[in-house]
C-alpha cells in the first residue's frame, strides 16, 4: 500500500466566528488527481489555501509526505509551525491561482526561472533549458521575452502553470484556474491541464466548475457542501450516479445538458 502524499485529519477552519470548514478528512495518494466541486462559498479555495500554507487551520492536522504541515516539535514539545518549518515542506507543493499572479516586472521566461534559481539554488543554464521546454509545452515557446501584460488571460494562465511545473512539485493545486478567463480561452488552458494530468505523475487537486473536465481527468471527486465533504468517490460515482439531493441540485446548475 502506498502512503498518501497528503492527509487531512479532522481539519476545521473558521474566519472569526464563521465556521467555514467543519471537519475535513481526506487522503490524496501520490499521482492521484482529485477534483473538488461544490457551491460558491463552500470552502473549496480554503482547503487548498491551507495546503499551500496561505491559510492556517483552526484545528486538525494536515500531513504532507509524512510531515505535519502546521505543527512542529521542539525538544519533544508540540509547537505551531514557524516559517522555517513551513518552508521545508512547502517546496513539495505548487499552486496555480485564479488570477494568475504572474510577476509583472519580469519576462515570461524570468517568471519561470526566478524561483528555481533563487529558491532551489539550481544551475541557471539547466533551469533555463527546463523553463524553455516547459513554456514550449504550454504553447508559449515563442513568447519567452514578452511581459505578462502583453499576453491574453489564457496565455498568462499557461505561463502560471509552467512557472509552477518548473519547480517540480509533488502536489499541484489549481484554484478555478479558468474562471477568470473569457469563455473562448478556457479550452486552451484545460488542454494544458489535461496534458499534465495524463502525463505527469504528481498529485493534483483541482477546484473546478468544469464537470465534464473533472469527469475526464479526475480519479476522485469531492463534493464540498456547507463545510464538509458531503460526497466523495470516483468521478463517475459522484458526478453521474450520486443520490445526494443537494449534489443533484448543484450539478443541475452546471451540467449543460
Amino acid at each position: 500500500m502506498k502512503e498518501p502524499i497528503v492527509q487531512f485529519n479532522d481539519v476545521h477552519k473558521s474566519f472569526g466566528d464563521v465556521k467555514v470548514l467543519k471537519g475535513i478528512d481526506l487522503d490524496i495518494n501520490p499521482a492521484e488527481k482529485v477534483a473538488v466541486i461544490g457551491p460558491s462559498g463552500s470552502g473549496k479555495t480554503t482547503i487548498i489555501r491551507m495546503l499551500m500554507t496561505l491559510e492556517e487551520p483552526t484545528s486538525g492536522d494536515i500531513i504532507v509526505d509524512g510531515k505535519n504541515l502546521w505543527k512542529m516539535e521542539k525538544n519533544g514539545k508540540p509547537l505551531r509551525a514557524n516559517e522555517k518549518h513551513l518552508r521545508s515542506i512547502r517546496g513539495d507543493i505548487g499552486m496555480v491561482f485564479q488570477h494568475f499572479n504572474l510577476f509583472p516586472h519580469m519576462t515570461i521566461l524570468d517568471n519561470c526561472m526566478v524561483a528555481p534559481i533563487h529558491v532551489k539554488k539550481e544551475d541557471k543554464l539547466e533551469v533555463k533549458e527546463r523553463a524553455v521546454q516547459m513554456l514550449d509545452r504550454v504553447g508559449l515557446g515563442d513568447k519567452l521575452e514578452n511581459y505578462p501584460s502583453q499576453l491574453s488571460g489564457g496565455q498568462k494562465q499557461r505561463v502560471a502553470m509552467a512557472r509552477a511545473l518548473v519547480m517540480r512539485p509533488k502536489i499541484m493545486l489549481f484554484d478555478e484556474v479558468t474562471s477568470a478567463l473569457d469563455p473562448e480561452l478556457v479550452g486552451e488552458v484545460l488542454e494544458v491541464i489535461r496534458d499534465i494530468a495524463k502525463n505527469d505523475d504528481m498529485a493534483m487537486v483541482l477546484v473546478t466548475h468544469e464537470m465534464d473536465f473533472a469527469l475526464d481527468i479526475a480519479d476522485k471527486v469531492l463534493f464540498l457542501d456547507e463545510g464538509v465533504i458531503a460526497e466523495q468517490g470516483t468521478a463517475s460515482q459522484v458526478i453521474e450516479h450520486s443520490a445526494n439531493e443537494r449534489l443533484q441540485t448543484f450539478l443541475h446548475r452546471f451540467r449543460k445538458v
Binding site: 516559517e83 518552508r87 491561482f97 488570477h99 494568475f100 499572479n101 510577476f103 509583472p104 529558491v119 512557472r163
Partner: protein, 234 residues
C-alpha cells in the same frame, strides 16, 4: 535712493557661492540618509508585534509633528548636555541627522504606500513558490513597489533642498549663511539674498521638470494591474 547695486551683486556673488557646495552637499547627504532611514521605519512598522508597532507609529508621528527647526536645535544644542547619552555633533552632522530623520518619516510613508500597492496575489505567489523572506522582498516586492514611488521621492528631494537653509541657524555655512554674513559685513542684504533666491530657483526648477518627466514615464511603464484578490494574507 538707490536700493539695488549691480556692483554689490557682483561682489556678493562669489562670496555667497562659496556656500553652494555645502548647501548641495548637505541636501544630497541628508537625502541619502532619509532614503535609507525611511526603510528602517518601513520595516520597523511591519514587525508583527502590537505594542512595538504602536511605539514606532507614535515615534514617527511625534517626529513629524515637531518642527524640524526645533529638532535641529535639540540635536545641536540640547543633546550634548544630556549626561551619558549626550553626543556632540558638528553643525553639518547635526543637520544631516535632524533633517534626515525628520524627512525619513515621510519617505518611510512613501515606501509604505508603494509596498501596499503591490497586489496580494504577488505575496501569495511568492509564498507558493517558496521564496525566502529576503528573496521575496528583493526579487518580487521591492522591484514592484519602488518604481512607482520614484516621482514622489523626487519631489521630496526638492522639498528637502528648500528646507536645508534651516541648517544655517546652527551655523552650517551654506549659501544662506554666507549671504547673511555678507549682509552683516557690508550692510547690504538685498543683493546677496536675491542671489540665494536665484540659486534655489535655478536648481529646483529644472529638477521639478525632470521629475514631472519621470512621473509621466513611470505612469506609462506599468500596465494597470488586473484583478485584485480580496483576501488579506501577508
Amino acid at each position: 535712493m538707490n536700493y539695488w547695486s549691480w556692483e554689490t551683486f557682483a561682489d556678493a556673488l562669489p562670496f555667497v557661492l562659496q556656500g553652494l557646495g555645502i548647501t548641495v552637499g548637505l541636501t544630497i547627504t541628508t537625502y541619502l540618509f532619509a532614503l535609507i532611514f525611511g526603510f528602517v521605519w518601513t520595516f520597523l512598522r511591519r514587525v508583527p508585534n502590537k505594542p512595538f508597532n504602536w511605539i514606532v507609529t507614535w515615534a514617527m508621528e511625534f517626529i513629524r509633528s515637531t518642527p524640524p527647526l526645533v529638532q535641529l536645535f535639540f540635536i545641536y544644542f540640547a543633546w550634548p548636555m544630556i549626561p551619558v547619552v549626550g553626543v556632540s555633533l558638528s553643525p553639518f552632522q547635526s543637520a544631516v541627522l535632524g533633517l534626515g530623520v525628520h524627512f525619513s518619516t515621510y519617505i518611510g510613508e512613501i515606501y509604505r504606500s508603494g509596498i501596499e500597492s503591490v497586489e496580494k496575489g504577488q505575496w501569495e505567489a511568492s509564498k507558493a513558490l517558496n521564496f525566502s523572506p529576503v528573496d521575496k522582498w528583493r526579487k518580487i516586492i521591492l522591484p514592484q513597489a519602488l518604481p512607482p514611488t520614484i516621482p514622489m521621492l523626487g519631489n521630496y528631494f526638492i522639498i528637502m533642498f528648500k528646507e536645508v537653509p534651516l541648517a544655517s541657524t546652527i551655523g552650517v555655512q551654506g549659501i544662506l549663511l554666507m549671504a547673511n554674513t555678507y549682509g552683516a559685513r557690508h550692510w547690504a542684504y538685498l543683493e546677496p539674498l536675491t542671489i540665494v533666491g536665484i540659486v534655489f530657483l535655478l536648481l529646483s526648477y529644472p529638477s521639478a521638470i525632470l521629475i514631472k518627466k519621470l512621473e509621466i514615464k513611470m505612469n506609462t511603464r506599468f500596465d494597470k494591474k488586473t484583478v485584485m484578490d480580496t483576501r488579506v494574507n501577508a
